[in-house]
Structure formats: structure tokens, C-alpha cells
């Protein structure tokens, strides 16, 4: 059994943007993919997925169209806008900087303890 950790504040938006960047996708698929990709390490609260999607749509980072799925049902497909792509790049870069910095700090304190 893996230990699940909660998603840090603000990273849900980043993850959503990243998933949607791969191509138009509906909400359920986003939830599925987040779960698969994170290999159940990160607990994505399904309840906050939709409000987040709507918020991103309102901010103009996502756009949505109603399209048919392979099963023939109509679903709301989200895709990244140009503004959304820029935002994704910005946030991904800053995330990387942050994790690198945090990693460095953690290593340093380990070394200090020896």
C-alpha cells in the first residue's frame, strides 16, 4: 500500500493544464489520467477538479467545446488556449526551480547532520 499525500496548494491547476496540453479532453478523462500518471501517489480530490476547471475556463486559460466521445455521448472537452499554454510554461518553470531549490536545501541539511 502506497502512502498517499495531499496535493500542495496551487499545483492542481498546473497538473490540469499539463494534462489538457496533451490534447482536448473531458473532465472524467482528466481525473483518470491524473490518477494514472501520479500512480496513485497523489490524491487528486475529484470534488475540486470541476471547480478548478471552471475557474481556469473563466480566466481564459482553458476553452471548452461540446463534442461526442467514442461511446457516442456528448461531453465537454477542454483544450488549452494560447494564454493557457503560456501560463503552463511559466508555472512549470517556476515549479522546477522551486523543487530544485527545495531538493538542494534538503540535501544540504542531510550533509550537515553527518
Amino acid at each position: 500500500m502506497t502512502i498517499k499525500s495531499d496535493l500542495p496548494q496551487g499545483t492542481l491547476d498546473l497538473l490540469i493544464l499539463k494534462v489538457v496540453a496533451l490534447g482536448p479532453v473531458h473532465g472524467y478523462a482528466i481525473a483518470q489520467r491524473l490518477q494514472h500518471v501520479s500512480q496513485y501517489v497523489v490524491r487528486v480530490p475529484q470534488g475540486s477538479l470541476y471547480p478548478a476547471l471552471h475557474r481556469l475556463e473563466n480566466r481564459g486559460l482553458l476553452a471548452a467545446d461540446w463534442e461526442e466521445t467514442e461511446t457516442g455521448r456528448e461531453a465537454k472537452f477542454y483544450r488549452l488556449t494560447r494564454q493557457g499554454r503560456a501560463q503552463l510554461e511559466k508555472e512549470a518553470a517556476s515549479w522546477e526551480r522551486l523543487t530544485k531549490a527545495v531538493g538542494l536545501v534538503l540535501k544540504m541539511s542531510e550533509g550537515g547532520a553527518e
Binding site: G27, Y28, Q46, G47, Y50, H54, N58, W66, R73
Partner: protein, 900 residues
């Protein structure tokens, strides 16, 4: 998608949200079933994973960012529903507010049009008015500013690189062909005037520079109105002749309807053709108006600097006339708005202030009504707080309700303003300058909206702040019939302020009434009954030949005297209580000082009948007779005020006065204003209230003297004849004789007209018109305030006593009589009334001061005015409180106690 868009498509968004969530759940459940779950279990699992479909939806709605709007819509629906539950309350509140807001909006519409709107010319900010400015010499009225002389204008215009300049002057006269003869107002103007102002003609053409020079063929532009009257609106009028002041002009253009410069004129002619001697003088000239437009890219201060340079150069070139004389450019707005509107400005703001008081009373009234309702709704509100509504949310809802009331009142108020502004302007005594600018525009709408919302906030605040938060349990458990001390104090506060505001308006109205009573009982100094006053224009052919003028006037007077019903007739140049006057300085010995150091007197040239026709009292000596003529010693008659000023207690008869500005033949011949020979005082007559019944006491120049028209030298006669009026004393109501008088005056060529016809009674009435108009308005406002205050007192007392029914029941059970109860309630209301009166009297004294400054003839308020107005108020207020008091006294003690 904008928030507005989202709100608009709310329904569609809701459907989509539902569909999206449903799709998620179905898909998840299907996946679980595929993995071997039982379908029902799968559905439950999916729902659990999502965390409840309704909760998710609600969070999505929040994410939309239109939450506050949805709340607002909900509040509005709620407010409309609660207002519709009590239509009586809503109607009273809305009508009350509509009266207040409507009145304020009417006043603002007028102020906006008259004072705030830009000039009615394109590019109004770049228009300037130019004056000559002197150092040291000041005139009492215009200070150191003077009208331009024509040569100075020509020099400035030629040398200026910063300004496009144009000149004009008033030039009224008689149009005698092609239609019936009529006297019209006219303007002599330079050809640049229309282009500078951005004006054009509706038909034909404007003046070219070729029309505007000496010796050019006479051409004229006529107004739309004159075109209709003289040519029946025929397009063929262009190129046709028109006879104006005895000269034939070719009509070249017709002005668009409503065209006006500083006043409405009917005939426009080029000023450059005028070669009269006085036009060419730099001193003692009639004066012209100079208007200018800044050339592109030039600032006003650059133009002013240039004018100063030109002024210095002209002073060096013409030291005799131009030393110490410069030129000043001011915004044209200054002349057309500030100076033309003049004293009316203060009155307009005063009226806005007065009507704002009415609005304030209306607000207080509605506030107390709303508060009473809020208190009876306390349980409902407490219930909603208990169910989770925040205090802010409740306050917002209360404010929504009052804002809705305010806006409804405002809407009705704007409607009142659209109906009321025009009649208001039309009724303004003596006509309001820039009246044509008074119209509803977006400034007015914005004002009305602002006032409505402000009112809503003002009267909604108290109930909103009272939304309960603490002691919910107690409120919910307690009976409805409790009234906290704080709200009773608030209610009393409302009544006190209403009474105080009403006192201010009542005392102001009383003060104006007192003034009007006093003024109407004043003796004008003349017998105003059966007296007709009219200006008369001699035939232009006669004016061209000064030697014929005296006999022409004599003949005209004789013809008028022969009309049956006419008792006597006389000539005079300036008529009391009508616009226009002639003020000149005098001195009591030959060592005459500088012009501006002499005392001023009003001078009138008259014929010997004048005293009898007007009914002025002869105090001493004699009036003129036929022996006072050209060549006999120059004589004058002074009034008692001037006698006192000039000679104190000495006997004025036989004394001499030096009056250099009189029309006479001086040592250098027939020049202007250079009399060295003194005038002998032969009589003293009663003072005439020349400046009107109201204005005369405070007028700056009250000295009056008369001189014989027969002693005016020929040289001056054409000019004097333009100014002459005729006064006719009749045996029957004077206007009945008008037709026959006009017919007799016509003359041989049918081109002599009587114009500006008034009876002396009309003129005397007009001199009080302003006071009467203000009294009417203040009376209206005061009446409205009284009514509103009474409704307010009634409402508050009815409310307070209804809350006190159990207490009253107890009192009656313990033996209080109905009379005791009435007395108790009345005592309570009397305390509030007296407090209100005390505050109001203090404020009223301030208001009275304002009126004293703004309105002619108002003196300090008399005690009996205060007494009467306060009695009226207290009586009305007590009457309003009597009804709830009586109802309280009829309380059945048993039932009251059982209700508790």
C-alpha cells in the same frame, strides 16, 4: 465570456453544468461496472469519489464569479415581493421620494442649463471677450473694464497674431417695409463674427469682407422670425429689399431659427458701413463688444501678453485717449454666463438648497417608515440569521430594498422634472438668461440617479444597521411588541429633524411674505393707476433732420392727447421701474473734480407735463414750463433725496449745480459732455422709486433730477429721440386705448411705431415679480415640508403608540382615563416638536440671512413672522399626533393585556 454574458446565459450554463457532472458520474460508474462492480454499488462509489454532485455544482457556480449578481437578483426579487405585500407603504414612500427628487431634479436641470452647460457655440472654450481696461479710473458698476472704441478694435485686430477678432454693437430700429412697420432689436457686426462663433445662415450667405467696409452696398441678414413676419417665409426674400431705419437694405441671408448671440436679434447689418462720427472716436464713444477666438495652438495667456504689448504701443501713439488704457481678454463664458445670469445665480442655488431640504424631509420620512417596518420584521430577520445568513448579507438586502424604493422614486422624479423644468423657466420673473439651454441631458439623468441612490442609502442605512445579530434567541422568543429604547430615540430624532427642516422653510416663506407685504404697501412716488408707458420711434426721415425733431415730437404728443379717453401725455427718456437709466455726476461748485469722484444722480429729460402725468408731488419751487427752452437759462428740478444730499438743510431753490456730462453747447461748441455753465435748481419734487418697489432702498444711485427736453441742443436730438418714451395718463384702463394710440402715432408714412408698451401698474408689479415668484416657490416647499413632516409625525407616533398598547392597557387597568392617555401621547409628541422647533429656529436664522443677501428688499425677519410660522407648525404637528393619541385612548385594557 463577460460576467454579463454569463449572467444572461445562466440557464444554459446550469444545464451544461448538470450535463457535465452527470457525464462524469455515468462514465465513472460504467468503468467500475466494467471492473466487476454491481451497477448500484458502482453509482454510489462514483458519487462518493466526486464528493456529492450538488456540492460540486455549487462550487462551480462560485467559480463563475457572478455570485454577487445572482444574490442581487435574488435580493431584488425579494424586495419587490415584500414591497408588493404592502402596496400602500410602497406608494407613500415612492410618491414622497418622487416629490423630493423631482423638485431637486427640476432645480438641477435649470442650474445645469443656465450655469453649467457650455456656451451654445462650437469650440466654446476658445472664445474670449475683450475689454478695455484702465488704471486708476473705475466705474462703480463695471470696475475698471470698459467697452472697446471702434478705432482701438481695428488696431488690435490688425496687429494681433494670436486672436481672430470680431466686433458687434446693439442697433435696434424700425423695419417699415415690406410688411407692417415694427420695431426690432438688431446687431451691427463685423463680417468675422459668424465664422468666429461657428454660426451660419439657413439660407443665402453671410457677410463678406466687401460688405463690411465704408461705402459698401447696404445688405442685411434677418432672423427666422422676421423672415416669417415680413416675407411670410418666402424663399424669394433673398435679394429683396427691406427698409430698416429709413434705409433700404438687400436681404442676403436668413438666420437659422433659434440663432442668438448675447440676445435675440432680428436684423444683422455690417458694422464697417457705419461711418458715424462717434464710431471714429477713441474717447466718448458708444462702445462696441469685441469677441475673439484663439488661433490654433495659442494659449489665453499668450493672447493676453500680446494684447498688453499692443496696448502699450497704442498708449504711446495716442497718449491723450489711451494713456493708462490696456486690453483684457476673458473667457466669453464669463460675459455670457456669469454676467448675464448675474444675481439669478445665487437665487438658483438658494432654491436648490430649499428644495433639497424638502428632499431631506422626504428621506427622513421614508427612513422612519422603513425603520418601523424593520423593527416589526425583526423576528423574520433574526430567523434568517439563525438559518445562516450573514449580517452583511442582511444589510445588503435591506439596502437593496431601499435602493429600489429610491430608484422608483427617482424615475418618477425625472418624469416630474421633464414636465416641470419648462414651466419653471417660463415663470422665472424677467426671463432667465440662457433659458434655451435648459433641457434634460445625461448630466441631469446622472444627477437624478445619484440623488436616488444616495437617498436610498440615506434612509436605508438605519434599518440596515439594525439587522439583528445578537440575542437572536431572545428576539425569537420575545413577543413582537417590544420596542428597544435605541429605536425610540432614533424615531424621535427623525421627528425632531423633520420639524427643524420644516421650520427653516416655513420661516423663509414667512420672511418672503413679510417682505412682499411691506413692499406692496410702499409709495412708489407716482400714481401708477391708468398710466401707459411706451417707447416711440419717430419716422427715420424726420430723425435725419434734427431741426424737424422737436415739432415732430410735439405733433405726436398732440395727436395722442386728442385720442378720446386720454387725459394728458408727456415725454421722458428713462422710465421708472423699467430697464435703462442714465447716471451722471454732479457737483455743487465750479471746481469740478475728476469724473469718478463726483456723486451720481439719475437724470431724465422730460416735457413740462411730466409731473402732472406721473402724479409726482411738487415739494417746493416750480416744475418746467414752455418758457424753459433753448436760449433761456438752463434749469433743472431735483428730487427730495438729491436736495438732501447736495444741499443738506439749505433751501435748494435758486442754487446751482455743475453737471459736465449734460447735453449742452459747451465752450468748444456742440461737443459731447463738456458743460461748464451751471444749472439752476428751480424746484424740488418727491422721490420716485425708480429702481422698483423692492430695489430702491438699497440702490446705489438714488438722487434724481429732471431737465427740460426743450433745452437739449439740436445736435443731440437724434440720439435722444432714439431713447424717448411717452407716458400717457388715461381716464379708462390704458390698454383699452392701445389700438387708437397706435393708429394716431403712425404718422404720415405709417412708419412710426409704439413699442415696449406697458402700464405703470405692470412695471410696478414686475418690480416685485421676483419676490412674488420666490414666495410662491418657498410657500410651495414649506407647504410640502409641513405636509411631509405631519405625515412623518403621524407615522412615528402611530407606530410608537401601537407598540405601547400593552403598557397603555396596564395604565388604563390601573385607572387612567382616555383623556390621560391622549395627554400622555401628546406630551410625548410635544417634547419632540419643541426640540425640533428649537433646532429649526437656529437654522432658520441662518437661512434668513441668506435670503437677505440674495433677494432685494428683504430685511431681517420680524418676531411676529417667527411666531405665526411656529404656531402654524405646532398646530399642524399636534393635529397629526392627535389621531394616534385618540386611537391609543380607545384601547380596550382587557384585550391589550391578553395580547401580551
Amino acid at each position: 465570456m463577460t460576467w454579463w454574458h454569463r449572467l444572461w446565459r445562466q440557464r444554459q450554463l446550469e444545464e451544461q453544468l448538470d450535463k457535465e457532472v452527470r457525464f462524469h458520474l455515468d462514465q465513472h460508474a460504467a468503468d467500475l461496472v466494467a471492473r466487476g462492480y454491481d451497477p448500484q454499488d458502482a453509482r454510489r462509489q462514483a458519487l462518493l469519489a466526486l464528493g456529492g454532485s450538488e456540492q460540486v455544482k455549487e462550487e462551480c457556480r462560485d467559480a463563475r464569479g457572478t455570485r454577487w449578481l445572482e444574490d442581487l437578483a435574488q435580493d431584488l426579487r425579494y424586495a419587490i415581493r415584500t414591497l408588493r405585500q404592502r402596496p400602500g407603504f410602497a406608494a407613500v414612500a415612492i410618491v414622497t421620494l418622487a416629490l423630493g427628487i423631482g423638485g431637486t431634479t427640476v432645480m438641477f436641470t435649470v442650474i445645469n442649463g443656465v450655469l453649467l452647460r457650455p456656451l451654445h457655440f462650437p469650440g466654446p472654450d476658445r472664445l474670449l471677450t475683450l475689454n478695455e481696461q484702465t488704471k486708476g479710473i473705475t466705474d462703480y458698476r463695471w470696475g475698471d473694464l470698459w467697452a472697446y472704441s471702434y478705432p482701438n478694435y481695428l488696431d488690435c485686430k490688425q496687429e494681433s497674431r494670436t486672436l481672430d477678432m470680431a466686433a458687434w454693437r446693439y442697433n435696434g430700429g424700425t423695419v417699415s417695409a415690406p410688411g407692417a412697420a415694427e420695431h426690432v432689436d438688431g446687431v451691427e457686426m463685423s463680417s468675422e463674427l459668424f465664422p468666429i462663433l461657428g454660426l451660419s445662415v439657413a439660407r443665402g450667405r453671410t457677410f463678406s469682407p466687401e460688405d463690411d467696409r465704408p461705402g459698401a452696398a447696404p445688405v442685411a441678414i434677418i432672423s427666422h422670425g422676421l423672415w416669417q413676419r415680413q416675407y411670410g417665409g418666402s424663399p424669394a426674400a433673398i435679394g429683396r429689399p427691406m427698409v430698416f431705419e429709413g434705409q433700404s437694405y438687400t436681404v442676403i441671408g436668413i438666420a437659422p431659427p433659434g440663432l442668438r448671440l448675447a440676445f435675440d436679434a432680428d436684423v444683422f447689418t455690417p458694422i464697417g458701413r457705419n461711418t458715424s462720427a462717434f464710431m471714429l472716436r477713441r474717447d466718448s464713444h458708444p462702445g462696441i463688444d469685441v469677441w475673439a477666438r484663439l488661433k490654433p495652438g495659442v494659449t489665453p495667456s499668450e493672447a493676453q501678453t500680446e494684447l498688453a504689448v499692443i496696448g502699450r504701443r497704442l498708449a504711446a501713439q495716442y497718449p491723450k485717449t489711451n494713456a493708462g488704457r490696456g486690453f483684457l481678454a476673458r473667457p466669453l463664458r464669463q460675459e455670457l454666463v456669469v454676467e448675464q445670469v448675474g444675481d439669478d445665480r445665487g437665487k438658483l442655488w438658494l432654491l436648490l438648497g430649499a428644495v433639497s431640504l424638502v428632499l431631506l424631509i422626504a428621506c427622513v420620512n421614508v427612513a422612519s417608515l422603513l425603520l418601523a417596518r424593520a423593527i416589526s420584521r425583526q423576528r423574520e430577520l433574526a430567523m434568517r440569521v439563525a438559518l445562516g445568513a450573514s449580517r452583511g448579507r442582511l444589510a445588503r438586502q435591506c439596502l437593496t430594498e431601499s435602493a429600489l424604493l429610491g430608484l422608483a422614486g427617482g424615475l418618477l422624479g425625472v418624469w416630474i422634472a421633464t414636465l416641470g423644468s419648462r414651466p419653471f423657466v417660463a415663470l422665472w420673473p424677467g426671463g432667465l438668461a440662457r433659458a434655451a439651454e435648459v433641457q434634460l441631458d445625461w448630466h441631469v439623468l446622472l444627477f437624478a440617479l445619484g440623488v436616488s441612490l444616495l437617498c436610498g442609502l440615506l434612509f436605508g442605512l438605519a434599518p440596515a444597521l439594525r439587522a439583528p445579530t445578537r440575542d437572536l434567541e431572545q428576539i425569537l422568543r420575545a413577543g413582537v411588541r417590544t420596542l428597544a429604547g435605541s429605536s425610540r430615540r432614533l424615531h424621535s430624532g427623525f421627528v425632531v429633524s423633520e420639524i427643524a427642516l420644516a421650520v427653516v422653510l416655513l420661516v423663509s416663506a414667512g420672511l418672503l411674505g413679510q417682505t412682499l407685504l411691506r413692499l406692496s404697501s410702499l409709495n412708489p412716488g407716482i400714481d401708477i393707476r391708468n398710466l401707459l408707458v411706451t417707447r416711440a420711434a419717430l419716422a427715420p426721415s424726420i430723425l435725419a433732420n434734427p431741426a424737424r425733431i422737436p415739432s415732430a415730437w410735439q405733433e405726436l404728443l398732440d395727436r395722442l392727447r386728442r385720442v378720446p379717453g386720454v387725459q394728458s401725455a408727456s415725454m421722458v427718456d428713462t422710465v421708472p421701474m423699467r430697464e435703462g437709466n442714465n447716471q451722471i455726476g454732479y457737483w455743487t461748485n465750479a471746481a469740478v473734480p475728476e469724473k469718478h469722484q463726483m456723486p451720481l444722480a439719475l437724470s431724465s429729460s422730460v416735457t413740462p407735463d411730466f409731473l402732472n402725468v406721473m402724479g409726482i408731488a411738487l415739494r417746493e419751487g416750480r416744475f418746467f414750463d414752455d418758457h424753459d427752452r433753448m436760449g433761456s437759462k438752463p434749469v433743472i428740478v431735483i428730487d427730495e433725496v438729491m436736495a438732501q444730499h447736495a444741499f443738506g438743510n439749505q433751501d435748494p431753490i435758486g442754487k446751482h449745480l455743475w453737471i459736465p456730462d449734460m447735453p449742452c453747447i459747451g465752450p468748444k461748441g456742440e461737443t459731447f459732455y463738456d458743460c461748464t455753465e451751471p444749472y439752476e435748481v428751480v424746484g424740488v419734487v418727491g422721490h420716485v422709486r425708480y429702481w422698483g418697489l423692492a430695489g430702491d432702498d438699497q440702490a446705489r444711485v438714488r438722487d434724481q433730477f429732471y431737465y427740460p427736453f426743450a433745452q437739449v441742443p439740436d445736435h443731440f436730438l437724434p440720439r435722444w429721440s432714439e431713447l424717448m418714451s411717452i407716458v400717457v395718463r388715461t381716464r379708462i384702463p390704458p390698454l383699452d386705448l392701445l389700438v387708437s394710440l397706435r393708429r394716431e402715432a403712425r404718422g404720415a408714412a405709417g412708419d412710426q411705431v409704439l413699442y415696449q408698451v406697458n402700464t405703470m401698474e405692470q412695471l410696478a408689479g414686475k418690480s416685485l415679480a421676483e419676490q412674488r415668484f420666490l414666495l410662491l416657490l418657498f410657500g410651495l416647499f414649506a407647504g410640502l415640508a409641513l405636509l411631509l413632516a405631519c405625515i412623518g409625525i403621524y407615522g412615528v407616533l402611530a407606530y410608537i403608540t401601537s407598540r405601547r398598547v400593552p403598557e397603555i392597557g396596564v395604565r388604563m387597568a390601573f385607572g387612567a382615563s382616555a383623556r390621560d392617555v391622549v395627554r400622555m401621547v401628546l406630551r410625548q409628541s410635544l417634547v419632540m416638536i419643541i426640540a425640533g422647533v428649537a433646532v429649526g429656529v437656529a437654522a432658520a436664522l441662518v437661512a434668513a440671512r441668506l435670503l437677505e443677501h440674495q433677494v432685494e428688499g428683504v430685511r431681517s425677519v420680524e418676531p411676529w413672522t417667527f411666531a405665526i410660522m411656529i404656531c402654524v407648525l405646532v398646530a399642524a404637528a399636534l393635529f397629526a399626533s392627535f389621531l394616534p393619541a385618540r386611537r391609543a385612548s380607545r384601547v380596550d385594557p382587557m384585550r391589550a393585556l391578553r395580547e401580551e
